[in-house]
């Protein structure tokens, strides 16, 4: 043992608190590369291998040689807290800079400039914040001693989890002086992603790869096509499972719905999605860790950010589009327990949802070029101004701008966006290649569902783990542990939940862009309304679809369900008359007539179409939607009392908002919108 190894080992033992601890294969090698060579390395090792020991020890050694502070870029909120504690054990002073502690920033930066901080943790999002880049980064990267990029696979758009914020890191690394060592860590990267990361972090990257075997994990696949049956299966199976776990869904809506379902079955469950704020997410994570929850029903938002070694089962309600994404999520189970289950349920809707994610992963060429052209003509544009020029929903525009920003095609200054001086060419070839690669991964996931070979070996091969071998534990190596049979009564109950879901239609309050004086939302706004089903769901939503597209008539079952929904809701003051949004066929009118009869209130043909508009569902953002419907209808008749305003579909809510405002302006009482199906889409 040389003196370097002796020093490093002493630090390792401080870290673990045991004087017997030895380095695992690869750890010392990585530390040497960073400290002795000031080199660049990527460590691909399973979670729990001890990646943090590498950078904590490297930091301690570099600091003792007079190097600057280590900057760790990590998406892990919880991990950050653990890191701060671990750092103290080796005598390092660690700080974090995030949106939750802005008040402390000044103090932290002062400490950095006095060279009193050894380790600074930041999230990748920070690097894309212009103010942070201009005011903070120069101080931060001043004399940086080591850059650590956690979850480095996110830097590659070949990966399953590409994040534009990470792409910025590629440029940061490219801009750093070559004598700054860089360490990337990940548990999920196949050869292609490693090669791409190597290209981005520098040619001389040292790759340290270990086995991705998970001894405690027991895998099984169950094909249960119908959603209601899968819900029933969860409700009957989860109470039998030991400990606590995670159910993964592909969409926010499904995560919310399945969470609600499990709670209604008496299971301590909570949903967890990217639409919740950090604080709420953290609280759920803590409740799961503390054992207060049996199960968290999550989207992929609960991925890298959660570090609980005692998870005993991970169930996929729907399967993700790649075996690597699957390995990462299922790998949350069984880290510090002897046995854990990884169960993949496969349903009918999986492919549709995966397809949607694949085809919407990148903005289209025509939309991108339109936005860039408009930006080039303007001397800076706000997001509202950009919306006026392209028919895309705001979230899509923002994600496009983020990609274009890290590509150097646009930049932000204050609240305005500018096109950069670089003529940017849409990377059609690269996007096609990446899409083809995602299609191949989607196929590989299908193969996982249908294979009769060892499941763990299959996943490890997909990750190019050279040591992949038969696990001898999974349902394919042994016999299935769980049956796919479901209780018929539970299935019925799940089905009725799927059918009874009510969705609130929140009125629009903000004028999206300059639309002239026609729209008066402050005096003439509509009331909150209700929608019967979500488009594409099983159950009643199937009747809505066939009524609209196959038979041209909404069945009486829907009139009955809608009547029941309105009675249960009972808005006050209670509506005394009903009108509807005229459509090109009389399908809405026909439905409204029967609904009025069923409710026992008068139906009035209040609205006449005076201009042909585009189908509202083809309008993608508020400005386009409001503009499309403004002036399309006129009020020809009304009653002074409260009214129900009926339409078949609701997406942006602008039709209801604009038409309802016109009715109010004409002298109607409060207007309650009601619709059969919500066609707006909630992503993951």
């Amino acid at each position: 043992m040389d003196s370097f190894e002796a020093n490093a080992t002493r630090l390792l033992r401080d870290l673990t608190g045991s004087d017997q601890t030895r380095f695992r294969p690869g750890q010392l090698e990585a530390i040497r590369e960073i400290v002795e060579e000031r080199g660049r390395a990527i460590v691909v090792q399973r979670t729990g291998w001890g990646k943090s020991a590498v950078y904590l020890i490297a930091t301690a050694l570099l600091r003792s040689e007079g190097s600057g502070a280590t900057v760790i870029v990590s998406p892990l909120l919880v991990l950050m807290r653990n890191q701060l504690e671990m750092a103290e054990r080796v005598g390092l002073s660690a700080k974090t800079v995030n949106s939750a502690n802005t008040a402390e920033w000044e103090e932290i930066f002062d400490a950095i400039s006095r060279n009193e901080v050894d380790l600074l943790l930041i999230s990748p999002e920070r690097l894309n914040n212009p103010q942070f880049r201009e005011e903070v980064m120069p101080k931060l990267f001043n004399r940086i001693g080591l850059l650590v990029i956690d979850e480095v696979h996110c830097i590659s758009d070949w990966g399953h989890d590409f994040r534009p914020d990470y792409r910025r890191l590629q440029r940061v690394v490219g801009a750093l002086p070559p004598n700054v060592p860089v360490l990337g860590t990940t548990a999920t990267a196949n050869d292609r992603v490693v090669a791409d990361v190597a290209e981005q972090l520098g040619d001389d990257l040292k790759v340290i790869r270990g086995s991705l075997e998970r001894d405690s994990l027991t895998l099984q696949v169950l094909e249960i096509p119908h959603m209601a049956e899968r819900m029933a299966w969860l409700a009957q199976t989860i109470p039998q499972l030991p400990g606590s776990g995670i159910v993964y869904c592909l969409t926010v809506h499904d995560a919310e719905r399945v969470g609600e379902w499990l709670r209604s079955c008496g299971i301590e469950a909570h949903s967890y999605t990217g639409e919740m704020d950090n604080e709420a997410r953290l609280e759920i994570e803590q409740r799961l860790t503390g054992g207060a929850l049996k199960v968290v029903v999550a989207t992929s938002a609960l991925a890298m950010g959660y570090d609980n070694p005692r998870i005993e089962f991970v169930i996929h309600f729907q399967t993700p589009g790649s075996p690597i994404a699957y390995y990462q999520q299922v790998g949350r189970a069984g880290r510090a327990v002897d046995k854990a289950y990884g169960l993949a349920l496969s349903g009918w809707e999986d492919q549709d949802i995966q397809d949607w994610f694949i085809s919407n992963a990148f903005p289209s060429q025509i939309d991108t070029e339109t936005v860039l052209r408009n930006l080039a003509r303007a001397e800076g544009s706000t997001i509202q101004e950009i919306e006026g020029g392209v028919n895309l929903r705001r979230s899509r525009i923002l994600s496009m701008l983020k990609i274009l920003e890290v590509e150097g095609a646009v930049f932000r200054q204050g609240s305005k966006w500018f096109r950069s001086a670089k003529k940017w060419v849409y990377p059609q070839d690269r996007i096609e290649a990446v899409t083809a690669s995602r299609r191949a991964e989607q196929q590989a996931m299908k193969d996982y569902i249908s294979t009769d070979r060892c499941l763990m070996e299959f996943l490890r091969r997909e990750l190019d783990d050279k040591a992949a071998a038969r696990c001898g534990r999974c349902a394919n190596c042994l016999t299935p542990f769980f049956s796919a049979d479901v209780d018929i009564h539970l299935t019925e109950k799940a089905l009725s939940l799927l059918r009874s879901t009510q969705i609130e239609i929140a009125p629009r309050k903000q004028r999206p862009c300059d639309l002239g004086a026609e729209l008066n939302l402050s005096d003439h706004s509509v009331e909150p309304g209700r929608c019967l089903v979500r488009w594409g769901d099983p159950g009643l939503a199937e009747l809505v679809r066939s009524g609209k597209y196959d038979t041209g008539r909404f069945e009486d079952d829907l009139v009955e369900a809608m009547t029941g929904m309105i009675k249960a809701w009972s808005p006050t003051p209670s509506p005394t008359w009903l009108t509807f949004v005229p459509s090109s066929t009389d399908v809405v009118e026909d439905f409204a007539m029967r609904l009025a009869a069923s409710l026992g209130i008068e139906v009035v043909e209040s609205l006449r179409r005076i201009r042909l508009s585009q189908p509202q569902k083809t309008m993608e953002n508020s400005c386009q939607q409001a503009r499309n419907v403004l002036g399309a209808f006129e009020v020809v008749d009304h009653r002074p009392g409260p009214a129900l305003l009926v339409d078949d579909m609701v997406d942006s809510r602008w039709t209801f908002t604009v038409v309802g405002s016109q009715l109010r302006g004409a002298g109607s009482g409060p207007v309650y919108p009601v619709a059969l199906a919500d066609t707006s889409r909630g992503g993951a």
Partner: protein
């Protein structure tokens, strides 16, 4: 854009990117240091090597070595701002870049800017252009002359080089651009502000325009930056035509007299309708007169391919 390690070293040592208060080296200090380094077998990127100490290089003062150490200490801040600039479409070209215009080295010598910042088509800088300079407040006759000289520059297949200021500069650049010619605008300040003006991106996209500056892109105007801008115009041009100059003062006058005196560019002065009060004095100081725009060609050097010029210089 990925910067080479040599480029990163030069940016770190000679610019104020990252912090406006960095004690960056002047062009002359850098060029002298670069010569010393080259003589002892080193390259700029050696600054990043562990174990390299400038104090070991003969002919380097301790003061200079200390200053370089301080600059290297916050090198990351400088190179990160360089990356931010490239995100805005601004390129940086250092003296070690093979596309760096050789005329700047041959004409400005130790004052050649170590880093050029720019946007647009940088290959325009490699061929000698024709400078057109003059007062901001030019009369109608002067405006006409500026335009007709610019059109002649386009006709003979050269780029118009100008200061991109109001008056003669813009008239000449617009005339050349609208005739389908190529234009090099040399800025004294605020490169970033320029690319946020409408119309500029279209001009850049057409690949007929290049804006270049030796000042950091967000820096403001100073008399010194105006002087170095003038030097760049003359040095990037085969000849520079003074359309209208004041006498004894003003940017045009000082730029032209400096060029005549230090021989960092050839000056031709317009004589005729539209000329300024200083034009005849510039002729007296040795600038040959141009009396007919169509005779511009007689002042231009024969089209010698750039590569041959280079080899002549290097071979000599």
């Amino acid at each position: 854009m990925t910067l080479s390690n040599d480029a990163k070293a030069i940016i770190t040592l000679t610019t104020r990117l990252g912090s406006r208060s960095r004690p960056s080296l002047t062009p002359r200090m850098w060029n002298n240091l670069a010569t010393v380094l080259r003589d002892s077998g080193h390259e700029p990127s050696d600054f990043f090597d562990r174990g390299f100490d400038l104090r070991d290089v003969p002919g380097v003062s301790a003061d200079l070595a200390d200053r370089v150490d301080r600059l290297l200490d916050d090198g990351a801040a400088a190179t990160l701002e360089a990356d931010d600039l490239s995100g805005k479409g601004i390129w940086m070209m250092t003296l070690v870049d093979e596309r760096y215009p050789s005329t700047l080295v041959s004409r400005l010598g130790p004052d050649a800017p170590p880093v050029l910042f720019g946007v647009g088509t940088r290959s325009l800088l490699q061929a000698n252009g024709v400078g057109i300079v003059g007062s901001r407040n030019v009369d109608e006759a002067g405006a006409k002359v500026a335009a007709s000289v610019a059109e002649e520059v386009v006709r003979v297949g050269r780029s118009v080089v100008s200061g991109a200021a109001r008056g003669v500069d813009q008239l000449a650049m617009n005339a050349a651009y609208s005739r389908g010619g190529t234009v090099i605008g040399v800025l004294a300040d605020s490169l970033i502000g320029r690319i946020q003006k409408s119309g500029m991106l279209e001009a850049l996209d057409s690949e007929a325009t290049c804006l270049v500056s030796q000042q950091a892109p967000s820096s403001g105007f100073t008399p010194a930056s105006a002087m170095s801008r003038n030097k760049l115009i003359y040095a990037l041009s085969d000849v520079t035509v003074v359309i209208a100059s004041d006498s004894g003062s003003g940017g045009t006058w000082s730029g032209a007299t400096e060029a005549i005196k230090s021989e960092n560019g050839r000056v031709v002065v317009w004589r005729g309708s539209g000329e300024g009060p200083g034009n005849s004095e510039l002729q007296n100081l040795g600038a040959p007169p141009l009396r007919d725009a169509s005779k511009l060609g007689s002042f231009l050097e024969q089209d010698t391919p750039e590569a041959e010029q280079l080899s002549l210089i290097d071979g000599g």
